[in-house]
């Protein structure tokens, strides 16, 4: 029997796929799964706790309390004349969003090997759900920032936001892309070589000190003019500085630094996508 009409197939499984194809159409079909996974992360975070979602607040509050006591008062690192808790919180919530995205995405294959090894769905859903569920935590912590902001304004502190605050959505997208991109690169490598997981585990907390979380860029530039490029080289520095400049009115903001940060974010995200696509098809065999 000869086939007059070539058969039409819905799915073709081949050895190799396209590296840049994100299969966004498929991801869109699975959007309910994305929502449910985010919900699962959110709910399971505070299941069987008494305080429930309040825990989202407690962590940053205690963190900035300690930062204020140790870095602000004990070590006496200047904070551009801003109220210390507000200064630290602005850096911490952005840094936390990045670090959480990076940490969780870098172990996404390993953590979910159980599900991913049994059922097919677009693999991209998993890192996306991490970025989204951390975005909710970021939003909660941002709410805390706004509350603190209002408190300090009512206390008569001189804080003037400016037009750069409108860049906030861009900054959030950049942070998410950086965390996602770096996380995907690391996750792809760790499926086979677990060494990188160790580097991430101790490297990310250390990287915080190379970012302007507990000190402003201006102080670093004044103290170590030769080495401050290292801190500027870090794309998150520009994001935090822009955020502080926009919301608090003080900070080292310039367009060149931000543009550099945008370009490096895009490069990291694209690299992450290519590597992720290469690994996602067969990671089950090596993880």
């Amino acid at each position: 029997m000869t086939d007059l009409h070539p058969e039409k197939w819905d799915i073709e499984i081949n050895a190799k796929g396209s590296l840049l194809d994100l299969k966004l159409k498929e991801v869109w079909h699975y959007r309910d799964l994305l929502v449910l996974l985010v919900r699962r992360d959110f709910i399971s975070f505070y299941k069987q706790t008494i305080l429930g979602p309040v825990w989202f607040f407690i962590q940053p509050v205690i963190t900035i309390l300690f930062y204020t006591l140790i870095f602000g008062n004990l070590a006496g690192i200047p904070v551009d004349g801003l109220p210390k808790p507000l200064f630290y919180l602005a850096g911490t919530i952005i840094w936390n969003y990045f670090a959480d995205c990076l940490n969780k995405t870098s172990t996404v294959f390993k953590d979910n090997a159980g599900i991913l090894g049994k059922v097919y769905f677009p693999r991209l859903i998993m890192p996306l759900s991490i970025v989204l569920s951390n975005l909710i935590r970021f939003a909660v912590q941002f709410l805390l920032f706004i509350i603190l902001y209002i408190i300090f304004i009512l206390k008569g502190e001189h804080i003037i936001p400016n037009i750069a605050a409108l860049l906030l959505p861009l900054l959030i997208i950049m942070i998410a892309s950086l965390g996602l991109g770096l996380g995907m690169i690391i996750s792809a490598v760790t499926t086979k070589y677990r060494d990188i997981a160790f580097i991430v585990a101790f490297g990310v907390p250390l990287l915080m000190y190379a970012t302007t979380v507990i000190y402003p860029l201006s102080v670093a530039q004044a103290k170590y003019p030769k080495y401050s490029w290292l801190i500027k080289f870090n794309p998150i520095t520009a994001i935090i500085e822009t955020f502080r400049y926009g919301c608090l009115g003080k900070g080292s903001f310039n367009w060149e630094l931000l543009a550099y940060s945008i370009v490096s974010t895009i490069v990291i995200l694209l690299t992450g996508i290519v590597i992720f696509n290469k690994v996602e098809k067969t990671f089950v065999d090596t993880v």
């Binding site: 197939w9 073709e12 050895a15 449910l36 299941k47 059922v119 097919y120 089950v284």
Partner: protein, 421 residues
């Protein structure tokens, strides 16, 4: 009818051993070969995958050049021993991993029950998990909502539906998980050994549901199982895999029969050549094991069987014994009978011949295999071999009543009938 699945030249290689320091240099070598447009230096195409023998390279071909097609609405049983490549095939079909070479083409949505309960989160309630699990399997939220009541009633865990699943018994967990998966609306359903769980009542329910799925709803089902009875009732076609290769494809009954016959390695054994290379160990070497019908040319229910075994013994001064265990194709032991070779601690070095007969009208028709055990003082095993030899007892056609009678044995009984008015 149109085709639902088309598998072409499908192969899958796995790397054996551990990933460690050595792997990065291999990866670099592989990358270098790739850059120069050469083939992967570590993949030797065509090596047969037999888990019992040591291969040359540490790359193993789990699937080797598989080709087959499945029509829409077929229920296909995939059978084979452990390590034959069944699960690898299903993993590729369900897109969990991708093949090394070759391609698969599918029509319609595909859903797999490779292991039920994947993605269940212990902290979430049964209700939340139904939605989550359904979404993982590819259902839309509206679809799940529409089928929610049906799923819950099929699972039979209504009472616990708002309790976190970590408080469920393992049986309830599986019931709920299977219920979600069984209500998936996909054109192709892949099932791997899920029926090993749940109680008898639920297993029956699952089998019924799967039969309904393939027969009434016209969906295509691929079913992997070691349970031949389930394959026979559920499937209409069968595929037999061995060592990563497709060795037989036909109607399910023939495939099951083929598998069961070929499961037994050989029907007579006579060792040729050197004594040291004969099967056995430093105590015992088996040289001959032959099974013949007592009368006629082929073994059937009424012929009876003669058995002859020759072995070489090197363990002197003990009470030596030999045991024959006969199993049928469902792995049910039919008998386990031993004989004392030497009784007064006087076993000698040399050749022993053991002969015995299995009387006529004892074994039912079917495939059998012998397990061989040599013992010391009826306590310690000197040497044992599973499935040492296999044979088939043919059914005797009695006119129209030629169907196989059920039962492990088929004795000829002396009936005495009397009548009183």
């Amino acid at each position: 009818m149109s085709k639902a699945i088309k598998v072409e030249n499908l192969s899958k290689a796995y790397q054996l051993g551990d990933f460690g320091t050595g792997t990065i240099s291999r990866d670099l070598e592989r990358f270098w070969a790739h850059l120069r447009g050469k083939e992967d230096p570590f993949l030797k195409i065509g090596e047969v995958n037999d888990r019992t023998i040591k291969g040359e390279s540490d790359v193993v071909w789990s699937l080797n050049n598989i080709n087959f097609e499945v029509e829409q609405g077929d229920a296909v049983g995939i059978i084979g021993r452990n390590g034959a490549g069944k699960s690898t095939l299903l993993k590729i079909l369900s897109r969990v991993t991708s093949p090394t070479t070759g391609s698969v083409k599918l029509k319609g949505r595909i859903a797999s029950l490779l292991e039920v309960g994947t993605g269940f989160h212990p902290e979430l309630s049964g209700r939340e998990n139904i939605y989550l699990n359904g979404a993982i399997l590819g259902m839309r939220k509206a679809e799940i909502r529409q089928k929610f009541d049906e799923i819950v009633s099929f699972s039979g865990v209504e009472r616990y539906i708002d309790t976190p699943v970590k408080r469920y018994s393992s049986g309830m967990y599986v019931r709920l998980a299977f219920a979600v998966a069984a209500h998936l609306e996909s054109e192709i359903l892949i099932v791997d050994e899920v029926l090993a769980v749940g109680d008898a009542e639920f297993q029956k329910k699952c089998l019924g549901k799967m039969g309904q799925v393939s027969m009434n709803e016209g969906r295509t089902v691929l079913f992997v199982s070691h349970n031949m009875a389930a394959v026979k009732t559920l499937c209409n076609r069968g595929i037999v895999l061995a060592n990563g290769q497709l060795i037989y494809e036909n109607k399910q009954l023939e495939a099951v029969g083929f598998y069961q016959t070929n499961n037994n390695t050989r029907s007579t054994f006579e060792h040729q050549g050197d004594l040291t290379s004969a099967p056995g160990n430093e105590n015992i070497k088996v040289l001959k094991f032959v099974i013949r019908p007592l009368t006629g040319d082929s073994i059937s229910i009424s012929t009876g069987i003669s058995l002859e075994m020759i072995f070489f013994n090197q363990k002197t001064g003990i009470n030596l014994d030999a045991t024959f265990e006969l199993k049928n194709s469902d792995e049910i032991p039919v008998f386990h009978n031993g004989v004392l070779i030497s009784t007064n601690n006087d076993s000698k070095t040399g050749f022993y011949t053991v002969k015995c007969t299995i009387p006529p009208n004892l074994l039912n028709a079917g495939n059998y295999s012998f397990k061989l055990i040599f013992g010391e003082n009826q306590r310690y095993q000197l040497f044992g071999a599973d499935d040492f030899i296999g044979f088939e007892v043919e059914n005797e056609s009695k006119g129209s009543n030629s169907a196989l009678a059920p039962g492990v044995i088929h004795p000829k009984l002396d009936f005495d009938i009397s009548y009183q008015a």
